[in-house]
């Protein structure tokens, strides 16, 4: 914490006022020099200046925590300092979201204790595949009252988020494992779930499959390909369903899906339109934002499967 902010070699990350799903690009631009130095395995000295922050969503919190933790874990943060937000309520919110705990930052003043929130799930590590089910279950249960999730919506979300998190352990090789976070907002009738890693990214994972090589000359193309059905790096043509299912579920709900992976990003908007952009993220980050006043289920997604009819209730094969 002994960084001299006047030193020209110190990287300054000035976090903007709003760190949200919608301002990810701005935050990533600020973070890019430090993320690039980490990608090149170069130690950096950093000041994370959060003084201006007025609002931080789960996407912003997870992104900042994952980026900083990646530097810590890989021993690349030679020196670092954080300038905490000026606003007390932002500090309290970030503390409740485990942000300072994740970064091992001791606040200079003790904050007033607040009741545990029933609508947000703090930044949480998932260390291995065996923890996925319990953490994801807790994540979705946290959203349940505020997002008014029925059994069907709950099951769909647990299934979808489990698939995304499992990808981290099957394919990413992430130094920070997986970081997850979530929050529901009944006022805006939306809920946001974030899964972040700092692993090898989608393009590198798919490059091992000869059939894909001509189709993935950049990270955006690799992400778009990964959203198609049966795209996998395992060589088994029947796998590779997870991201496709997630995208179809979110499209039918009218929500939004954001996937960042290395040099690329793809965002599926509320009308199902797909936009690409080119901000850098040192791994893969998936943000699922769904509408809480719209159905969220998988029957329509899987409904295309034709099957000999043995009755509606049972299935035999």
């Amino acid at each position: 914490m002994a960084v001299d902010p006047g030193d020209a070699d110190v990287l300054h990350v000035v976090v903007p006022e709003r760190v949200t799903f919608g301002t990810v690009g701005t935050v990533l631009e600020q973070l890019e020099p430090s993320l690039r130095s980490a990608e090149a395995n170069e130690p950096c000295r950093l000041v994370l200046d959060m003084r201006a922050v007025k609002f931080c969503s789960p996407t912003g919190i997870t992104l900042l925590a994952a980026a900083m933790e990646d530097l810590y874990r890989r021993g690349l943060l030679a020196e670092g300092a954080i300038r905490i937000p000026n606003r007390q309520f932002v500090l309290q919110y970030l503390e409740r979201m485990n942000f300072f705990k994740e970064l091992e930052v001791n606040l200079p003043t003790k904050l007033k204790p607040r009741k545990k929130s029933k609508k947000l799930h703090p930044v949480t590590h998932i260390r291995d595949e065996g923890e996925v089910a319990s953490v994801v279950r807790g994540l979705v249960e946290t959203l349940r009252p505020e997002a008014k999730l029925d059994e069907r919506a709950r099951g769909t979300l647990v299934s979808c988020v489990s698939e995304v998190v499992e990808n981290v352990f099957y394919h990413a090789g992430s130094p920070i494992d997986a970081l997850v976070c979530a929050q529901a907002n009944s006022q805006h009738r939306r809920a946001e779930l974030v899964i972040a890693d700092t692993g090898r990214g989608i393009k590198e994972a798919l490059t091992g499959v000869e059939a894909y090589r001509g189709q993935i000359d950049n990270d955006c193309a690799a992400i778009r390909l990964a959203l198609e059905k049966n795209v996998t790096n395992t060589g088994d043509p029947h796998r590779g369903i997870g991201l496709w299912v997630v995208s179809e579920v979110i499209r039918s709900n009218g929500g939004e899906l954001l996937i960042l992976s290395k040099e690329g990003g793809v965002r599926i908007g509320p009308n199902g339109d797909m936009n690409v952009f080119d901000h850098f993220w040192p791994g893969t980050l998936v943000v699922i934002e769904f509408k809480t006043d719209q159905p969220i289920d998988t029957v329509a997604v899987y409904g295309s499967a034709e099957f000999p009819n043995y009755g509606d209730d049972d299935l035999n094969f």
Partner: protein, 101 residues
């Protein structure tokens, strides 16, 4: 893995696997799916997967258990009972994906 094998009137042996009993209500992951598939007794004539009480099932779990079972040529008949519409649709999907090849 708690399973139950029973003998019917026609002396055909049936193995019942109640998924919720040993695993819980939310089933995900290929490792777990592989474990469940390994409990199938190849000597019985039918295996009944009882899905009563399940809250969710992930596509990778469904593929690992039901998709891969569907591909096996020497296997007991498989019956799925008490599944919610979403889980039933997913299992149908997983089976069809593997059966199509």
């Amino acid at each position: 893995m708690a399973t139950m094998t029973s003998t019917s009137d026609s002396a055909q042996r049936v193995q019942t696997i109640r998924l919720i009993d040993e695993i819980g209500a939310d089933l995900s992951g290929r490792t777990l799916g592989d474990t469940v598939r390994a409990t199938v007794d190849p000597s019985v004539s039918e295996v009944v997967f009882d899905c009563e009480g399940l809250g969710s099932m992930s596509p990778s779990f469904a593929d690992e258990v039901f998709g891969k079972l569907a591909q096996e040529s020497q296997r007991p008949a498989i019956r799925i009972v008490n599944a919610t519409p979403d889980i039933l649709a997913l299992i149908r999907f997983a089976v069809q994906e593997r059966s199509a090849s």
